[in-house]
């Protein structure tokens, strides 16, 4: 009676951008400061 839906784990967008050295630029371009969100 169970219907199973497999979920696949992918690399997150944050990790992808970080690996490409583009995460800081992403924060800047979106006017986001994740540390400030915690303040």
């Amino acid at each position: 009676a169970l219907h199973r839906v497999p979920l696949r784990r992918h690399q997150s967008l944050r990790k992808k951008l970080r690996a490409q050295g583009q995460l800081s630029e992403f924060w800047r371009s979106h006017n986001l400061d994740m540390t400030r969100l915690s303040e």
Binding site: H3, R4, V5, L32, E39
Partner: protein, 338 residues
Amino acid sequence: SCNVYSSVNEPLINYLDMEYFGTISIGTPPQNFTVIFDTGSSNLWVPSVYCTSPACKAHPVFHPSQSDTYTEVGNHFSIQYGTGSLTGIIGADQVSVEGLTVDGQQFGESVKEPGQTFVNAEFDGILGLGYPSLAAGGVTPVFDNMMAQNLVALPMFSVYLSSDPQGGSGSELTFGGYDPSHFSGSLNWIPVTKQAYWQIALDGIQVGDTVMFCSEGCQAIVDTGTSLITGPPDKIKQLQEAIGATPIDGEYAVDCATLDTMPNVTFLINEVSYTLNPTDYILPDLVEGMQFCGSGFQGLDIPPPAGPLWILGDVFIRQFYSVFDRGNNQVGLAPAVP
């Protein structure tokens, strides 16, 4: 309320860290899409053939004219993200998820997707598993239609997120019940306090041996659509300091060599302790050959009337198998078996 044009708010950062996706198909013959199964929202949307945004060019799009079972509804919908609005129209068609076929499911066909987030994202759309009260446009959510059309034996679904970093082998969403092989011991059932998100009451949050937050009780949601654990910004700032995380390039991270000395973080829920150790809440990454250890906690202000809320996202669900019971409006949690 206005069903013709309705909108909901979703923080952009929710989708930056998403890692677990599944496949659904819409229409006859089926058109496939990769989606996030998100207990923190209640709409289904996928990119539309009418979408001209860069994000839609990077993803498969739904062609209504190529589906024999499609019917036009025509209402507009909008989801407000941090950097712009995802907008579209609502249609109806068969939606299939691993052999379960829902007839006449209303869903959003996005005609505009904002920003770079959805260009780079590996998922095409989102399938919401929250309560109907969260659904934009008065649309009946997929799981409600599954229950109404007697497609599930029991009105519940459950989520197992494997910790395997490469592909998350074994991760699954189960409709119609739960699988005891994915958890140890027995499920602890927690009443849903507000039927919108999967919202529950927390009795306290302990860092090491000290209750640092929520000593008078607070509210949290169990959300597969959020990857990290989030909380009120002032509390999360204290929590980051307590675990030794500091800001690095706009994020909180710790020295990977200090994991052994970091405290456990325990959520007290319905008189049961749910403990995360540092290897559970620290997110390792490799950057230019160097180890990077990001914090699994993130400040997120959810103002009243919905908030303040803590969000127990994938970082929590990876450790605790989660059952979402619509029949009894409760959430079941038990330690996940790796």
